[in-house]
């Protein structure tokens, strides 16, 4: 389990990084950020990049900051940066809540938010969160900057619309209204494992009924996405067991779950129902 040989590049600026990536992408040149998914894949020799462009030394990529109404998360911001809220209000608290379910503490010291999203593992918690929040993915290459809405970003299991010469430079999370309620619930067999399914939810209450409901499901399908049917089941309803159960049923019906040797589609569907309801219950607290 020793990685295959590669050439190592350590650019100091974004321009250098994208230039190197542009030059070496045809030889399977790739970005190395936290490496917590890429390096194991290389250890199994399932990935054998010819070049790695290590962006850990690139100035400015480790910033997480509020720009206008967006929270902008740079490519080298580690999961651990979210252990404490990065901003006041429900979003900062929510990211701190979700980060606890991501792998384990030492992995979170090194792995990055953007790396997780670029890797596009369907069971990634951050993928569910960016789907939930309708984030914008900012890609940069020598050809310039490109903004990709999250709905167009995830293409399938570990597949995205990022071009091979594009660096996922940052992710912009729209900061929701201050009265937004959030919930997150996942199921895995051991602490820290990839979840078999997860539900990320948010809504606001206006005049006693649910407004602006978002429900994103991860882990169950080949990509994380919002489930419109479940959101419709919530909109305008009074928050409580009936609406939550209806939304949970709608989510379970709407998803097209993956199946593998360990997990049946039916089990995943059932988990989606349970986790959606539990995430909504959590949001009321």
């Amino acid at each position: 389990m020793k990685p295959a040989s590669f050439t190592y590049h350590a650019p100091a600026t974004i321009d250098e990084a994208v230039a190197l990536l542009g030059e070496h992408a045809p030889d399977d040149g790739r970005i190395l950020a936290g490496g917590q998914s890429l390096v194991p894949t290389m250890a199994f020799r399932l990935a054998r990049p010819g070049h790695l462009v290590d962006i850990n030394g690139v100035a400015g990529l480790d910033r997480v900051e509020r720009v206008g109404n967006d929270l902008v998360i740079g490519a080298c911001v580690r999961h651990a940066a979210f252990h404490e809220p990065v901003l006041d209000g429900p979003l900062g608290a929510y990211l701190s809540r979700v980060v606890r379910d991501i792998a384990h503490y030492p992995i979170r010291q090194r792995g990055t938010f953007c790396g997780s999203v670029a890797h596009a593992d369907p069971a990634s918690e951050w993928c569910a969160v960016v789907a939930l929040l309708d984030a914008t993915i900012v890609a940069q290459s020598t050809r310039g900057e490109r903004l990709i809405p999250v709905a167009e970003f995830f293409q399938g299991v570990m597949t995205t619309s990022l071009e091979e010469d594009e660096l996922l430079r940052d992710i912009r999370l729209p900061i929701p209204a201050g009265d937004t309620r959030f919930g997150f619930c996942e199921f895995n067999r051991r602490a820290g494992d990839f979840a078999i399914a997860m539900a990320a939810v948010s809504y606001r209450e206006e005049n006693g009924v649910i407004a602006d409901p978002h429900i994103a499901i991860g882990g169950a399908e080949d990509r994380a996405r919002r489930i419109a049917e479940a959101e419709q089941a919530l909109a305008g309803k009074s928050p409580g067991p009936d609406a939550f159960a209806a939304a949970a049923d709608a989510a379970a019906t709407a998803v097209d779950p993956m199946e593998d040797h360990a997990t049946s589609a039916q089990y995943r569907r059932d988990l989606v129902r349970t986790l959606t309801r539990r995430a909504l219950e959590q949001a009321t607290q």
Partner: protein
Amino acid sequence: MTEDIKKDITLSLNGRDYQLTVDPRWTLADVIREHCNQTGTHIGCEHGVCGACTVLVDGDPIRSCLMFGVQADSKAIRTVEGLAKDGKFHPLQEAFMESHALQCGFCTPGFLMLAAGVLEKDPAISDEDLEDILSSNLCRCTGYVNIVKAVQTVRDKMGRDQKRSA
């Protein structure tokens, strides 16, 4: 392998600088073990799950199998060999022995470094958070009960000492 892909780095390991020429594909774990001859950092899975290779990089506990040695250039690495000071064991090492927190000892350096890193960052960490963090590493011998006990003992003692000096 062609020589030109190799890189010169300075690895600061337990306060000592090692000038090395490394193949970029060498993991930090391999560089520490094979090129600095510090074999206390163990390799249990090489895919980042077991935690036996946990070391501190600039104070953060990380899996040294998931980082390349070349990436550790000019960073401060601490391993189990650096825990004891002036011929005296670190309180965690003492507590692991007292609490019978090890059997075969293979996971022990990883747990020690994880615990050392965490207690340095958060000396008053809650039981719940501590257990959450200690669940990062695998042990196949002890059933973990005594590992948790050992780390809690040190945390509690540090807390008392702090109060006393305050």
